[in-house]
Structures are given as C-alpha cells and as structure tokens.
C-alpha cells in the first residue's frame, strides 16, 4: 500500500496540497476510499500502524526501509518538501542521510 499512497500524493496536485496541509486528515480520507462500496480507481487502502506513522511524519528512512519504491519515494518527498519547506540542494543530502543507513532494502512487491 505504501507505493499506492505515495503515488496518490505525488500524482495529484490536490492530494499533494492536502497532504502538505494536514497529513493525518489526508491519510484518513485515503484509507476510507478503500471501504467505499463503489470505489474510484485507483482507490485507497489500509495502512499498517508503522506505515501510517511514517507517512504522517514523513519519515524518509522508515519508508525506504519498509520497501517503498525508491524512485516513487524520491519523487513524492521532493514534491512535498520542495519548495514548500526546503530547496533541492538541501533535500539531496537530507534524503541521502535518511536512506544511507538502510542500504538497499528489497522493494519487490
């Protein structure tokens, strides 16, 4: 579900703004989509408590270690943080420091 929720955040300008504004509210709505008897496509999904916490706090290292697709993770993080909270030159070392301790986790699905 991690890849799906990151896709939902990065690929929609409206979702990106909602997540940037209040991650928890956005995630509530996204998870509710999966319970819709006639869900939109793509719909939402159920996150584990660990996934939910990592997304609420945008814990890059935790998401990476849990097997998030690296390309999708980078794009989503970049969309959320640049330029709203930092510049790209600041994000690159910030991101590297977060993922480096975890090496290359299996991101197969």
């Amino acid at each position: 579900m991690l890849n799906k929720v990151m896709w939902s955040i990065d690929r929609s300008n409206a979702n990106l703004r909602a997540y940037q504004t209040e991650p928890s509210l956005f995630l509530d709505g996204w998870e509710r989509l999966a319970d819709d008897p006639e869900p939109p496509y793509p719909d939402g999904g159920a996150l584990t408590p660990e996934e939910r916490l990592a997304l609420e706090t945008l814990d890059i290292g935790a998401l990476y270690a849990m097997g998030a697709n690296p390309f999708l993770l980078w794009q989503m993080v970049r969309s959320v943080l640049v330029p709203a909270r930092m510049g790209i030159e600041e994000l690159i070392p910030h991101f590297r420091a977060a993922v480096e301790p975890h090496g290359y986790p299996d991101f197969s699905t």
Binding site: N3, N13, N69, S79, F95, R96, D106, T109
Partner: protein, 280 residues
C-alpha cells in the same frame, strides 16, 4: 512490407533536457552534440512510425496493475503527467499514435518467441517516452507505437526476456503490411540511481558497468549483455539501472549487430547513453 530503417537508444533524463533548454554547460556539450547528430539522422531517415521502448515510471502503471510488457494502440495519446509539469518543466501535450502497427505487433504469431502483451487503448506517456521524442522529433509529429516495459518495479522481466522482445518487434515490423519506414527508439539509462544512497553523486554510480555496457553494444554482443545484466548486477550498478534493459531490446532488434554509435558521456547526471544501429 514495412521496413526497419534504424534502431537507436538514448537517455530520457528530464534534468538533462531541462538544463539544455537553459544553455549548454561544459559537461553537457558532448551530450548536446549527440542529440544534434541523432536528430539529423532521424531527419535523413524520414521514418513514418517510431516504435518507442520505454519504462513508465509508476505514472500510468502502478503495482495494483503492473504488466511486464504493454503496447499502446491509440491514434492519439496524452503525454506528460501533472507531477512532471511540476518537477521537470514539461508541458502536457498529445502525441500521434500508430494503432494499425500496434495491433499488428500485438497479433504477430511466433512459435519461437511466444509473447503475450498487455495493451492499452488510452496510453498516457511519461517522460521516459516524451524526452527522447522531444530530443529526436521536437514537433512530436511522427506517429508512435509505445511499448511499455516494467523496468522500475521488481519483479522485473529478465534480460533474456527483453532480448526476446526485440526479436518479436523485429519480426513484427518486418512482416507488417504497407511500406512504412519504422525506427525503433529505446529509452533508458546506463548506471543510474534515484531514491537511494548513491543518487546525485555528480558522476556515474558504477563506471565499470558503463564500460561493459558500451562494449556490449559496440560489439553487438547480445550474449554477454544478457549474461551481464542479472537483477543483482543491475541493482549493484544503481537502482534505476534496470532501464538499461530497454537497450538490450534494441540490440536484439538490430540483429544483433554492432552499434555504429555507442557513447556514454559523463555528466553531472551520471553517464548518459547514446546508441545507434544502422540498418540496411
């Protein structure tokens, strides 16, 4: 019958494209030279159709539905996704399709190379298709058959399977009715990483892989290319290196035969691939 008039493979790095729109810094001069040369080759060849082999970057295709290989068969296709406008400065546009050739590829029987593609009547091209197209045909006026390959979301098809894809594409083009001149365009990377510890190093994450890869293409050595592109070796070269597999499709479709251009100029974005196989 249709005619395969050439095979090429090149980078789709969107940051390279954006940088070159603003000027020509020293580290991209060789890249710009290759792009200019390839554009001139396309003008000279005057293809009627481009068959573009590229890997959707989790834009149109997501892990909820992930085909290994998919053919787009629409007469007109959306191109560029909203986040690519935001991040890369690309502009949303449309690209003409070539549905008759796409259907022919889908229906080409082969006893020696069984192939069952997924298909889409509404393909939406991302930068892996659009950047090579903008570089080779800036007007985006040549109809395209998009061949989507999964090289971004493991489990990824084997290098041998990518080679068989090339064999199938070649057989399909050679047997297509009409007199269309077809150019195969592969889109991908040499050693490259995004979203991992080695992204944005300012150089290639694996120069040994780059050297081997250029050598396979220059020699037309499909057997060594397949042997050298195991999942583990590609991942060791960088977590985006799987997209090199699209060039194995190109090499296979060429015959295989030695590439007349096999270059990988080193840039701030890693080494950028440029391959050309002359046919005829």
């Amino acid at each position: 019958m249709a005619q395969l008039v050439g095979v090429t493979g090149l980078t789709h790095n969107p940051l390279m494209w954006r940088t070159l729109r603003e000027g020509e810094p020293d580290d991209l001069k060789e890249t710009a030279r290759h792009l200019g040369e390839f554009r001139a080759r396309v003008v000279d060849l005057a293809p009627d159709i481009l068959v573009v082999v590229a890997s959707d970057h989790l834009h149109m295709l997501l892990t909820s539905n992930m085909p290994a290989f998919l053919i787009g068969k629409a007469s007109s296709m959306r191109a560029v996704h909203p986040n690519e406008e935001r991040m890369f400065g690309l502009t949303r546009t449309t690209v003409p399709g070539a549905p008759d050739l796409a259907r022919h590829i889908l229906g080409t029987p082969s006893d020696s190379v069984p192939f069952d593609f997924a298909f889409s009547d509404e393909p939406w091209l991302d930068h892996s298709f659009v950047i090579p197209l903008l570089c080779l045909t800036p007007e985006l006026d040549i109809p395209v058959v998009p061949v989507f390959t999964n090289a971004n979301s493991p489990p990824i098809p084997s290098a041998r399977r990518f080679a068989e894809l090339g064999t199938l594409l070649r057989a399909a083009i050679d047997s297509a009715p009409g007199r269309d001149r077809v150019l195969i365009v592969g889109s991908g990377h040499l050693a490259h990483e995004l979203g991992g510890p080695r992204q944005f190093l300012g150089r290639s994450p694996d120069e040994d892989f780059d050297s081997d890869a250029l050598g396979w293409m220059a020699a037309g050595d499909l057997k060594s290319a397949i042997a050298g592109c195991s999942f583990d070796r590609l991942l060791a070269a960088g977590n985006e290196t799987f997209q090199f597999l699209n060039f194995i499709t190109c090499l296979s479709a060429s015959g295989p035969r030695p590439a007349t251009v096999a270059a990988g100029p080193e840039t701030r974005f890693s080494a950028l691939p440029f391959f050309w196989w002359e046919m005829g």
